[in-house]
Symmetry: C2
Subunit: 682 residues, 2 copies
């Protein structure tokens, strides 16, 4: 294949550049520089290579495109409009306005044609590694001779900012290890970042670094105008057996009077600059949001080609159905996002007679039942497999077959010590479709991935974090590894289900909820130490997010707790009961889910009439929402055998009983009604 | 220089290996593999190269040593003991026990001779870049002809785990850019991580990657026994003008029957294995915690040499005093950790007549006064200088002089888009001494650095984060950039002062507190948008962390708020007042500091008698501690002009007045006393 120019190329590229400048100018906010600099490569990529149907942005085998430098989204919005996605000129005019389809950075599930949320630097390119893994895995699993059903590419645009971020380094190293030949990254090497020339901070040899990761690196020295070289580089990248970085030298804000400076990075061009830009590129200087008919015509053709590709693919899928009915049924079920019928019947159920176990072990038992039943599950750990207990018997590693360590059909990813990339890759796996990713590390190190978890929540990717060793119960490793603030952090993150199950049934409930939701990530906070199975815990109770685990009428005190401390609360309650102080115990394994229950139910759990004391071996921050008094750990932890650490921090049945008495006495003295903390004015 | 073996080398190395095995075995917890594998290089480094005085671990010009793979700390504790630091054999026997000096991972300020806290992977090597920058900077600032006062090296041991972490990639890229020739990293290339052989996830070409960063890379193929090659590599590394990575091929758990497998990574050796190990290395198999006299003797000599080095240095410093009295006074003041006399007199003071300004701008004004007055301040930004407003007039960039972009005497660091490394490097700058680092990015992206901020707090490094664009007030950039959970996260982090100043005086107060503390990091959460200067705000009030900004007797309502919402609370109060509803307003710019005030004071601020409503444009999580009712944002934000975004979320004077009325009505109906939320049972 070689590049065949056509009469529409120049006008199309000119349209992209001027339209992007108009979009940013009208909003009086945004980043014109990257869109103008990358217009040429965007045009070549979308007009010559990308297989997608603008009329059905969900066609499964479409090529994925990720604008990792999401601040340049005027570019992407302009392209989506020109290609005929559900994005009108009026939408472009509403760029960065409240409730528009064109927010300041691209958002998944918000704008037609956006594959993953980007903007926070490094996230897009890392999620793209997940998209590429997803293709490789599903292709290896479902493609058959004559049925190359899943063979799309993942294309990424990334700037200097993305490549400076550690998360991108982690993801790129893993992509090289995994030999993801379907991943093509165009590096916009424009030498400019917000602080000015990149030579103030970023002078490393980027191509050499990517070669060290095992990538191919190609070079295009004139990314502004040399369409032929751009074309040839992309064409070559599609043939290599490894991921490819195309280093594309561009001029930021190409065509502007300020081109090549950081003056065009993050501020609109001035009116006269835009006028000269239009004149320079042969478009009418006095028109804004002007799209020549030739440009629309050119992109319409691209859309027609995409629609034809989808039609052919649908026919192929039909023919696959007759030859491979089982695989077809499974693949189409996965594409639809439905789990296998009755999958939840596999969830283990416990009684108090069952042996005490660590909730990380209980999680392993759940996974050992679900992984064989749900092929959609793709697991992995950031080099803590034996501690997280996430690789169940029979799983095969996802590895390039040449390594003889696994295959692309394998469902367990060795992420290495790369928590942040793991989180971002999981977002990509989820965004691709047909896959439910679970990932694992110690709870304390989920914080390393905070940027990616935030985008899971914002995008609604139902990623599952198996976060073990979730408190001082981790013991000897000490305060560097003992989470304190982590619960407050992820409970405060909107649309993040932070689950802290107390026993076997609660662990099953957490998985049940996490796998049922289609739009919320879950963090399962799991113990290292053994936990008894509780009287009163059931999956049906726990899946509500909170319930009464020990009921008493006419109580003097309620203790509300979570996870490994619920059994300690029960022990305290029993001690108090022995002294005639009637004590209820409430378990709230998940705040987000409990808050979604009807007010009446919540008030029956956290009822008025007696004080409520919270107990958790984490920061007390936020427990005030559910309790009058709080017991927890608002300092760092300590290194030692875990029972001694619990003792040191007073989290024992005996001490909590004594604290409970203080609470009861205090409220007795205080007098008056004790009103539920969840009864609110608005 | 070439290696001169002595009769103590073998016995010393054997002692390190067997002692480390004993330490882990006695604790029945820990990591013997790395200490045993790295015993030889540790011995060569400490006996031949490291300039330090075990009797005074604070000698300023000592070489810094960082064990980045902190899980191998049995190695470091053993060495500190052998060298004569304040760490006894009994301390070694108390490894990983409650309140011992030998916790599960090394902790700064906890154990004599530990330079920075390590364990969370990637943090040590990144903090070491900060230690190396500190040396380069102070050397360039204070050294004179004949007075090479500050010329120490920073040595790091790091394993595969550290090198997989993105934070380490970021830091290494910056270290190469800055040409830190004083930084020497020994990479323990043992091919083993927790998941087994590193070939499951980490097959990149590490030496090539570091070369791409601009490092020298040296190779030692037998790190177990080839002392001569180890010596020569370190000697060479000290002469190169760039940072050096020494790739040292070792056998994890060298000497164990399981050597070279991940079986020796994170679990004690069995008793019989330890016995054969001792026999193999010529030590008595039946003795535990045995240190031959020869070993003590060898290390005593090292200590004597270190004490002499310090003596000579002290003499040099005395002589410097007479020739350079001004520089001497400044340097010794900085080493002592005291700021210049009366520095706080430079803090700007405001009245309500002063123009409204963004608190990021108010921060810039503070810095413009303090930077010239306090040479200890070393600023920087993660490529957002023009937005963070952190580089005040007259500052010179910290750059290698060959770049002609700055000098090593410069005080402003261009961190690049590397938030996590920036946080870790700031920890190193602070740990070195003589430097007060401030770093900056958008508040939302401090989360990228959560791992490093956590270690600031745990270690007590008074790092200052200038965290601008701190809410939906950032406007058009949208929800990907608008923090929601960030306040709850860092307020829940122990020993982290999260400041959210409301105006000019509060901004000055935040800096006053942040620069006065010696043991707590501060995050200054600052607005993009303009904020009026408030009647009632003073530095003295605000530095208490909370105060009454608008007092009324006999109030029906108190609104408690922070930062950019305090002026909105005042507007609401004024509207309520107009309707006859007396409303007080409280500002709590910093929870941590407010909580440290006497109970009586706190109760006077958040007094009983009327309901308290909190208002903040962030998650409500945690505000229940100070209020009966909470108004905030518990979803993600929105992209649009900021006033419209505030309107969308109901954070306006009008709506908050209406919410306030609901609160007053609710409590009227409810009846009974309204008790302060901070009156607690225990």
């Amino acid at each position: 294949m070689s590049f065949v120019p056509n009469q529409f190329d120049d006008v199309s590229i000119a349209t992209i550049r001027t339209l992007a400048a108009d979009v940013v100018a009208k909003a009086n906010s945004g980043h014109p520089g990257a869109p103008m600099g990358m217009a040429a490569v965007a045009h070549v990529l979308f007009s010559r290579f990308i297989n997608a149907n603008p009329k059905n942005s969900q066609w499964f085998n479409r090529d994925r495109f990720v604008l990792s430098n999401g601040h340049g989204c005027a570019l992407q919005y302009v392209l989506l409009h020109l290609l005929g996605y559900k994005l009108s000129l009026d939408d472009l005019k509403a760029f960065r306005q409240i409730d528009s389809k064109t927010p300041g950075h691209p958002e998944f599930h918000h704008t037609d044609g956006i594959e993953v949320t980007t903007g926070p630097l490094g996230q897009g390119i890392s999620a793209a590694v997940g998209l590429a893994i997803a293709q490789a895995h599903l292709g290896a699993t479902y493609n058959k001779d004559g049925f190359d059903l899943i063979n799309n590419f993942t294309y990424v645009f990334a700037g200097d900012g993305c490549l400076m971020e550690g998360v991108a380094s982690e993801a790129a190293s893993l992509a090289g290890h995994l030999q993801l030949g379907n991943l093509i990254v165009v590096y916009d090497d424009n030498h400019i970042s917000i602080d000015g020339d990149t030579n103030v901070a970023f002078t490393e040899d980027v191509p050499k670094r990517f070669e060290a990761y095992g990538w191919d690196v190609l070079h295009v020295d004139d990314g502004d105008t040399d369409l032929k070289s751009i074309y040839e580089a992309i064409a070559k990248a599609r043939t290599t057996p490894t991921p490819t970085l195309i280093r594309l030298r561009t001029t930021i804000g190409y065509g502007s009077k300020q081109q090549g400076t950081h003056g065009v990075h993050g501020a609109p061009l001035k009116a006269d600059d835009i006028q000269q830009l239009k004149t320079k590129f042969g478009l009418p200087a006095d028109k804004t949001f002007y799209v020549p008919e030739d440009t629309y015509a050119a992109y319409k053709e691209v859309g027609v080609r995409g629609a034809e590709l989808e039609s052919k693919w649908n026919a192929l899928l039909e023919s696959y159905k007759s030859q491979y009915p089982t695989e077809h049924a499974e693949l189409t079920r996965r594409i639809s996002g439905k789990l296998p019928e009755n999958w939840e019947k596999n969830l283990p159920v416990y009684t108090p007679a069952d042996a005490a176990q660590a909730s990380r072990k209980l999680s392993e038992i759940v996974l050992s039942k679900l992984v064989p039943a749900i092929p959609d599950l793709i697991g992995g750990s950031a080099d803590l497999t034996g501690s997280n207990l996430t690789r169940v018997k029979g799983m095969v590693d996802f590895q390039h077959p040449s390594t003889e360590l696994g295959t692309y059909a394998g469902t367990y990813i060795r992420y290495g010590v790369r928590e942040h990339a793991m989180g971002a890759i999981a977002n990509g796996l989820s965004a691709y479709g047909g896959i439910v990713p679970y990932v694992s590390t110690f709870l304390n190190f989920v914080s390393y991935a905070a940027g990616a978890v935030r985008l899971s929540a914002l995008s609604g990717h139902p990623v599952i974090w198996v976060a073990t060793h979730d408190s001082i119960g981790l013991g000897e490793d000490g305060p560097t590894h003992q989470p304190i603030e982590t619960g407050a952090h992820f409970r405060a993150l909107p649309n993040c289900a932070f689950w802290r199950p107390a026993d076997g049934n609660e662990t099953s409930a957490a998985y049940k909820w996490a796998l049922t939701t289609k739009s919320t990530p879950s963090i399962l906070s799991l113990s290292r130490q053994n936990l008894p199975n509780l009287e009163g815990s059931t999956i049906d109770n726990a899946v509500k997010g909170g319930y009464v685990v020990h009921e008493v009428e006419g109580e003097a005190l309620t203790i509300v707790s979570s996870g490994s401390e619920v059994s300690i609360a029960l022990e305290a309650a029993s001690k108090l009961q022995a002294e005639g102080i009637k004590t209820r115990v409430v378990s709230i394994p998940c705040w987000l889910v409990f808050d979604q229950q009807p007010q009446e139910y919540r008030l029956s759990v956290l009822r008025s009439g007696a004080p409520i004391l919270s107990l958790e071996a984490l920061s007390t921050t936020g427990w005030q929402k559910y309790s009058h008094e709080q017991y927890g750990i608002d300092t760092f932890g300590a290194s030692g055998p875990y029972l001694q650490v619990y003792e040191k921090f007073g989290i024992t049945g005996t001490n909590i009983a004594s604290v409970g008495k203080k609470v009861v006495d205090f409220y007795k003295k205080k007098g008056g009604d004790v009103v539920s903390p969840i009864l609110k004015a608005f």
